[in-house]
């Protein structure tokens, strides 16, 4: 909005030096991050109280169900806070005329909405088993993913034509594959759906998803910034795509909001992300991966998410059919707590693993 306003003012003769700052990407990236962080911090506690009073509490029972150790009754759907902060900040600092921003924001909010429906049902039924059915959730997610895939191959996508359906592999300069549009669409649908679910499943311990997602989004933000900058892109041998800087702004805003959320969500949590947050974040990561054309970087930068969903799927699908457990507990972070490692320790360890993965991913910037 600020950019639109500044453009309008400049178009109407108000050519003031300070206003020109807004046209610098780095300025907007930092201001966006700061704004969403401060916004989340400012309204955070009040928002938690609001959720609590609206009875959006995690599997809340009556008073007798509360004990001094458990997490029952802690407000959930805290993803709304992230969504609110992101929306506020992106409306201020994002370039709303950019197709990237529009798609990212729309997808982010839609996924959040789907998650919220799920959370809301869980809360209303007071059971973690009674949210949206698997099928319903899948259908609702596909309702965005399919148009998104079509958008990626269509002329609406600001990415230039030859790049749209090719696939890059990390650590290799040139694209290795150029898929047909149909195949690429199928690939997008499968990959986005998997990424969203992987991120969703990782949300299980206080601060785990927040911490790891910040790193993943950070890596994609850096990639987006570089690809959108003709000089850096040329130097690092990336295909230059105009306007991807807006993806960096979005990433920065999301990181700020997540930091603001982590402020409250870190162990012991005052509020949970809920599916609202995890689906929205998952959606954002998936969209950033595809819009920056770094789809196959995800198994590296989001290796943790991939591993988590792998363990969970193995336990559920194969173990369920066999009628026995394969791991003691799944997904993996629960296995760790089951082995007797304390929750905050598990979270920090997994974040350290994520940092490692992020560094490897950044290595692919230069090693190509």
């Amino acid at each position: 909005m600020i950019k639109l306003l500044v453009d309008a003012l400049m178009g109407n003769g108000m050519n003031i030096g300070v206003l020109r700052l807004v046209n610098y990407l780095s300025f907007r990236v930092i201001m966006g991050m700061v704004t969403s962080l401060l916004f989340a911090l400012t309204i955070g506690f009040r928002f938690i109280v609001f959720l609590y009073r609206k009875k959006l509490r995690d599997v809340s029972g009556d008073i007798s169900a509360i004990n001094a150790f458990g997490k029952r009754g802690i407000p959930t759907a805290g993803g709304l806070l992230v969504m609110l902060s992101v929306t506020f900040s992106i409306l201020l600092w994002g370039d709303l005329t950019s197709r990237f921003t529009q798609v990212l924001l729309a997808g982010f909010l839609y996924m959040g909405l789907v998650g919220f429906i799920d959370d809301f049902q869980k809360v209303r039924f007071k059971s973690s088993l009674s949210g949206l059915s698997q099928l319903g959730k899948t259908l609702l997610l596909l309702l965005f993913i399919v148009p998104f895939a079509l958008f990626l191959v269509s002329a609406l996508n600001p990415v230039p034509e030859p790049l749209r359906t090719v696939i890059f592999i990390p650590f290799l300069k040139n694209p290795v594959l150029n898929l047909s549009a149909g195949l690429y669409i199928a690939f997008v649908i499968f990959a986005v759906f998997s990424i969203i679910n992987a991120v969703n499943i990782t949300d299980g311990l206080d601060g785990l998803l927040g911490g790891t997602a910040i790193l993943t989004i950070g890596v994609y933000m850096i990639f987006a910034y570089i690809i959108g900058n003709a000089v850096y892109a040329g130097y690092l041998l990336f295909p230059f795509v105009a306007g991807t800087g807006e993806i960096a702004v979005f990433g920065a805003v999301l990181i700020g909001a997540l930091f603001g959320f982590l402020w409250f969500n870190t162990y012991p949590a005052e509020v949970f992300l809920g599916d609202t947050g995890s689906l929205a974040i998952g959606g954002a990561i998936a969209m950033m991966a595809f819009l920056t054309k770094q789809e196959l970087l995800f198994p590296i930068v989001g290796g943790l998410f991939v591993f988590e969903i792998f363990t969970s799927l193995l336990q559920q699908k194969i173990g369920g059919r066999l009628g026995r457990r394969i791991f003691h507990r799944a997904p993996f972070h629960h296995e760790m707590t089951h082995r007797g490692i304390a929750e905050p320790k598990v979270v920090v360890r997994l974040i350290i693993v994520s940092i490692l993965l992020a560094l490897i991913a950044l290595l692919s910037l230069k090693v190509r």
Partner: protein, 1159 residues
Amino acid sequence: MKKLTTKVLKGGAVLTSGTLLSRILGFVREILAAAFFGGGRLYDAFVIAFSIPALFRRILGEEMFERAFMPPFERLRSQGRAGMARHLIIRIFLILTLVLIVLTAVLFFFMPALVSFLAPGLSPETAGEAVLLGKQILPFLILISFSTLTGAVLLFSDRKAVYSTAPAVMNTVIILVLLAFHRHLGITALIIAYLSGAGAFFLFQLPAFFKVMKSLKRNEPENGKDPLNHSLKESSRIFVTALANKGVEVVDRMVASLVGFGAISSLWYSFRIVQLPFSIISLAINRSIAPELSRLRGSRNYRDFGTLIHLGFDFNLFLLVPVTIFFMAFSREVITLFYFRGAFTLAAVDRTSLAFFYYALAITPMGLIALLNRIFAAFENNRAPMRVAVFGAVLNVFLDFILYRTPLKQGGIALATAISIFVQVLLLFAALHRYPVRLRYRRILTTFGQLAFALIFFIPVLIIGKILMPETLHFLPLLLWLGGIAALAFLLYGTVTYGFLRSRRTEKMKVVLTGGGTGGHVYPSLSIYRILLEKNRIYQVRYWGIRGRAEEMIVPRANIPLEFVPAAPIAGGSPVAKLRSALTLFRGTLTAMGKLLRFRPHLVVAAGGYVSAPVVFGAYILKPFLKLKIVIDEQNMVPGLLNKVASTMADAVLVNFKESTYFMWSNRCVYTGYPVRADYLEPETDIPSLRKKLGIPQDAFLVVVSGGSMGARAINRCLADAVDRLAEQRKLFIIHSIGMNRTAAYNALEDTTDRLAASMGENFDRKTLECRRKDGSVFYRGSDYYHDLCRYQQAADLLVCRAGAGALAESMALAKPTILIPKRGLPGDHQELNAISIAEQGAMEVLFEEADPQSGTDRIPVPLFLERIRELMENEARRLSLGESAGRLFFRHASERIYTAIDRVIKGNEIEGETQIVEPRFVRFQRTFDNLIRFLDHHASKKDNLYVRFYNIKVHEYLASGKPLTVNKGIKLIGSLKRVDLYPFIYENFDTFQGYQKRNALAALAKADCFHEPFQPLVERGLRDSYFETRREAIALFNRFHKQLREEGIHRQILKLMKKQMESFEVKAEAIRAAVRILDQDVFLKEMEPVLFARNIRYREALLDAIRDGLALHRFENRETVRNFLKRMLITTSQFQPSFTVRQRFITTIKKLEEDSRD
């Protein structure tokens, strides 16, 4: 309030249509002028010259006459002092003439000085032109001044039509003259046009004016205070105010002449457009509000006065803000559209759109200022507006001089105007505090909130339109684009705001009742209707139900018009059936919306049943437009899916069970209890005479059996089968309501009579449906439907009924001992568990149905049924206590609660939903089956516990289901209920079990009270199983019965598992616990040496458990050694149990409170 709104709106409409016409014509005039004379030097000169009469017209017309002289005139007229009023007008006329003569003379002689003062930056030749034009236009000043006076009189004499069309006449004349002469006469044509226009204006009003004056002619003594003096004093203030307001335009022009070529005309042209919406919308509203304000102020009705101000405020804001935004977004396009033609160049477009962009900001504040000035005028105090206006003017000039130097140029001048007007609005609002007008800030906030909400539908359309719009300078495409965008945006916006701006409130309501399918849904909605009817709140009523269902019989009896809406249940059936019912639902929603639009109800009461869903959906969609309220009444403890969805749309959900709040998705649940029929609320005291009337022996033990209006198969069959043995009970008398079900699957009457005939033989009379004992006395009487079942129930000693909401509430209301027979197999077994939760409080007896092993149909075990009846017949104390607790549980204030809740909803007050959500125990059990298992573990020995009884029946069903997960539940129940008789099921099927089942089977056996021989092979097989959890449970079973189990390689196997490298830590930990039972002290400690420093904490925990077990089992000879051994153990670890101090304190406090309340 409604009258007030209409009155204002009607007046506004008349004014608006006239004003609209004149303003549009005036605007056409400007467009023509722009095309003929362009936006350059010549027009600059004309604007300067014309600004003097224009200034006077505005000051005299819109300000002084209407605000200073007319309020006293209006007051005199409304007080019936017509003569005084007429006199006042004549004197004003004289004064005006005098002023004009002097003024014209002064202006004529000092014109050059005036021009150079007004436009210091003008070039000499332009200034010369301006002086000439200024002198030529002086007659216009005189004519227009008189016309405004006559106009004001007409306005205040309710001749709004003439008043508002007169300017249109003027503009038409001007346009015609312009068109005729502009080619030949150049700029002089403009002068001639204006002069002739003003003449027409004056002449047009004259007849009506004389008529008014004539009507005022009346002989009466002139007395009282002369209002003119006061008016003159006021008028000087108003003059200053107006001068400050309008003079700013002049100053703006002065500064603009410094900016350079074309700036003056660019300001002029852009201001004309800005004025267009302002004058059309705002002046119309504010003008029609003004007389109303004076009237209300005169009658000191400050409540309506305040409401009116809010109304004006709302209207101004809602109408002007979007216009502002639209103009700012499309500033350039609008200017191009209106002016770009003829002599008006592209450069002029640039200049003008720059000014226009910033002028647009002033639209809303201008509207508000006009409103505020009129409020102050109603108080006949114009001091505050004067001061504020002067301050604003100074601020404006100050800002002008700062901003015109910036790159904004003439835009800066426009911006200065906008800022200063905005500041004036704020100051005037602040000044309003001194008056007895109490503005409700909540309401203002609401307005802003609603405005922001409505703009969400407005702005995106503009943004999208702006992005999609092609660059074009041609009139037609531009008009189509702009018009299209504006139409779309304003249409959306208007749709949203329409709901906000409409308000209505009445005491008597139009009500729609809905809900049905069965009587269980129809009766409650009729009860609510009666509650409202009793309080005299019903104006009109409709019942919307489904064709061919219970409501078709019941509703017409209550004299309520019944209409039909298509509906279908969503749950159950194949996907195709689901799709079909979804379509029906959609059709129903549309039908309901149509009906709602026609009936326009204030309240929709939905009492569940699937018909209520489409009605509620339709009502919810139309809610913003019809301002209706939705109330849902839910009788069942566990609502259906559609009701849960519908509940989110309701303003209040009335629930019968506190537990229902737990299932509802809405936060607005109000516990009201069940609105039982009035018959049930009056306990019958004279039972003997009632029995006499009903033909029942006085000394008989009367049992009334009923399975609801449709009838219950299991109950009917059980009773029919048991009837021959019931005959043996002396004194027993049975009334049986068989039910009206006549479907192919079950024909209640036929089936029951057949069975009765089978068991009673000749003693059953098919015609009268009576059974006789062998001695000939009647002891059974049946009927498919008793209209007066309530009478029988009142006379009864014992009731037998279903556990549905209605039946429950009725038997509780009667405070009779009851045997509940809950229906089996409903989703989540809720009727059974619901019955349990009531029976737990000692209020009812429960008899569970079970599945017939052969046919699978529901049945009630006849012996059990007989036993219950006999028991209750004999035990009078138990009967009394049951009846008493049932009566205690009944909530008697349902109707008051319901009325209060509905009243609150109608008044728009927030509903205080049930805050304490009680989680029903059965929900906790269903949510996690292990909760139930844990509960049963503790209560298994209590054979009369209802849950134990229920699940002892249920376990067979689980085991027979064939689904692995359900069988699994059955296995858990076997262990928990210690069903030794079912252990063979485990022994026989163990090898075919899945991993989970094996694990749970072994765990179930570990709960046994004593050792059974078949455990031995199971442990052996379990230890060798491929699934780690089975091995773990096998070791656990060994630990439980290690003394009885024979060695036979078990020990060796356990120790092997303990030492195995690739074993799950769970198994190894359990093995460590077993080791202490197997090994001697020394060997044990030796083996445990590595465990002391095991990396995995679970091993060390197991070791500590093992040592404690060993102590209890006296396995250690030398405790000191063990102690020294343990001292070396690694006890640093990351595992810890956090605890939240605030929660700990919360729990102890709550516990304390609960203890105290028990004392």
